[in-house]
Amino acid sequence: MVLVLAIGDLHIPHRAPDLPPKFKSMLVPGKIQHIICTGNLCIKEVHDYLKSLCPSLHITRGEYDEDARYPETKTLTIGQFKLGLCHGHQVVPWGDLDSLAMLQRQLDVDILVSGHTHQFKAYKHEGGVVINPGSATGAYSSITYDVNPSFVLMDIDGLRVVVYVYELIDGEVKVDKIDFKKTATAATH
């Protein structure tokens, strides 16, 4: 049972001052084992805050991040799953699921976490699953102003992943979940 937080596109301080208080009250240290962050934090203070939630922090570079040292893509293995991370502004058309699927095959991962569109998405294709955690602050994106704050918490348990989607809709936190399993023999890419 490994809890992985997927979060990103906060755009603090340029487009949003902070995470919504209802999200902040839930995100406490000691519960989460890994954080994967799509990028666009944008400043060091946000990095430090995330680090305080969990020491295992993985970030890829968004186009507005002030720290230029974050990598463009990252892959890591958690339990039985290989995860890939990329901000997503590099993949054109932005948010296009076929293009993201190509990136996923390139990285050879089961789950690709990518952002930039500020819209939550969970999409399945032959090569695996693509998850976009959206923007945790509800910051406006290059595409739209109408953004609900959201992030994703994955519970990886053996060959099964339960994805909990946390969204702030009309001031209330709404939680949904998505279940999927990996077949024991890895899908051929």
Partner: protein
């Protein structure tokens, strides 16, 4: 009616200094044999000729239980280590005979066990289980009772040691059938579904299983730390061997199950020390059927043993009538009754507050004051005495004080405290004999 004068038998010079550690308990000569059993009528004894155990005992070879200690402290006062005495052998035979009856006479068992259970026939495990009421006195009921309790423990483990992921998975299985969307080749947005009963990992609700799980993690870490520190000198409990690791795992499970079943008291440091001797004895039961279920048996006996001492572990009860302070006060009062001179010197003159030494003696049932083998013998007496473990414990503590009275009377605060916090090794049968004598002398 309080005795002001120390009784004559206490004034004997024998009591003033601890007996020097000796590999064989018989170097003290005849005096030792005299004091050993209160009911024996023998006045002179020759050193025992090694007598083979009577054929009435079970055919397995006499097993020396305490074999694997890493440190080499000599077995002072350990009855049964080395050549068993004639008396030991006879008592062992009597115990074995008592245990083989169809309906066991607990009073008789108590009487025999309070003199110490010899290691020879591997019967300590069964005797303790009977004394703690885990096994019923009617042998015919043993298998059904044991089966019931063992399966109950298995259920506890399954329910309580499950992590929230598994729990939610089982909840879902019962409410809806599995989706069939894991076919390779289908594309599309993954369907979102509602969470069951508002449960999600970041939930802050008091009744949330996730929240409770994270709160329990702290306690589990504490238990883990304490179990690793239990008896670091013994291979059985500590080290990298497979045996030690599996024993530690078992101890942890028992303590975690106990903590979850008792939210009022949870886990308190020290419970691991009370659990350790029980587990050791049951694990070394020569009967393989029993060792397979050692966790379950130890759990229930631990609960039973702790029930008499629970209040000592509850911080809120510290100052109450049932708490540890009140027990220590009782000890102090007992000391005053039996040996006012010593009491006065300790508490008034040198201001050695009994809390400084007796706290550990009482809460940990003397497991830290003597070597492991000796503490098992003391526990034989604690568990078998009809007055109950607490009263017996207090008497043994008083006996401990009396045995070193001469040193205490000559000492000041520092030396007395040092002596009592590192109690010198002593002849255990001797100690228990004195404790027994105190019973008939007590004023209440």
């Amino acid at each position: 009616m309080v005795k002001k004068r120390v009784p004559d038998w206490l004034n004997s010079s024998l009591w003033s200094s601890p007996h020097p550690p000796s590999p064989s308990p018989y170097d003290d000569g005849e005096d030792y044999r005299l004091r050993r059993s209160s009911s024996a009528a023998e006045s002179t004894v020759q050193p025992p000729v090694p007598v083979p155990p009577p054929s009435a005992t079970r055919p397995e070879p006499p097993k020396v239980e305490i074999r694997d200690r890493m440190n080499d402290s000599s077995d002072n006062g350990g009855s049964g280590s080395g050549t068993p005495s004639v008396e030991d052998i006879s008592r062992q035979a009597q115990l074995v005979q008592e245990l083989s009856r169809k309906v066991i006479n607990v009073g008789e068992l108590r009487r025999l066990a309070s003199q110490g259970i010899p290691d020879g026939a591997g019967i300590r495990s069964t005797v303790w289980k009977l004394l703690l009421g885990y096994l019923p006195v009617d042998r015919g009921l043993w298998s059904s009772e044991l089966a019931k309790k063992r399966s109950q423990y298995k259920h506890f483990k399954e329910e309580l040691l499950m992590n929230p992921s598994e729990i939610t998975r089982r909840l879902e299985k019962s409410t809806s059938s599995e989706n069939e969307e894991s076919k390779c080749g289908t594309r599309g947005l993954l369907p979102r579904s509602e969470i069951t009963q508002g449960e999600h990992p970041l939930s802050l609700g008091k009744t949330s299983i996730w929240n409770q799980f994270f709160q329990d993690t702290e306690i589990i870490e504490q238990i883990d730390r304490d179990v690793k520190r239990t008896h670091p000198g013994m291979h059985f409990f500590s080290g990298d061997s497979q045996l030690a690791k599996s024993n530690q795992e078992a101890l942890k499970n028992i303590l975690i199950v106990f903590a979850k079943l008792n939210p009022g008291i949870r886990y308190v440091q020290g419970m691991n020390e009370i659990l350790a001797p029980l587990f050791y004895v049951f694990r070394n039961d020569p009967n393989e059927e029993n060792t397979a279920f050692v966790e379950a048996d130890t759990f229930f006996c631990f609960v039973e043993l702790l029930s008499g001492f629970r209040d000592h572990f509850c911080q809120q009860l510290d100052n109450s009538v049932v708490g540890i302070r009140s027990t220590i006060t009782k000890l102090s009062r007992l000391l005053k009754e039996h040996d006012e001179e010593l009491w006065r010197h300790l508490e008034v003159t040198t201001k050695v507050n009994p809390q400084f030494y007796a706290f550990r003696w009482i809460t940990l049932l003397l497991t830290q004051e003597f070597n492991f083998a000796d503490s098992l013998i003391i526990w034989d007496t604690l568990l078998s005495d009809p007055e109950g473990p607490l009263e017996t414990l207090l008497r043994v503590c008083i006996a401990m004080l009396i045995l070193v009275r001469r040193r205490l009377l000559a000492g000041d605060f520092t030396s007395n405290l040092k002596l009592l916090q590192h109690y010198p090794s002593t002849n255990i049968s001797h100690l228990l004999y004195v404790a027994n004598k105190l019973r008939t002398q007590s004023a209440y």
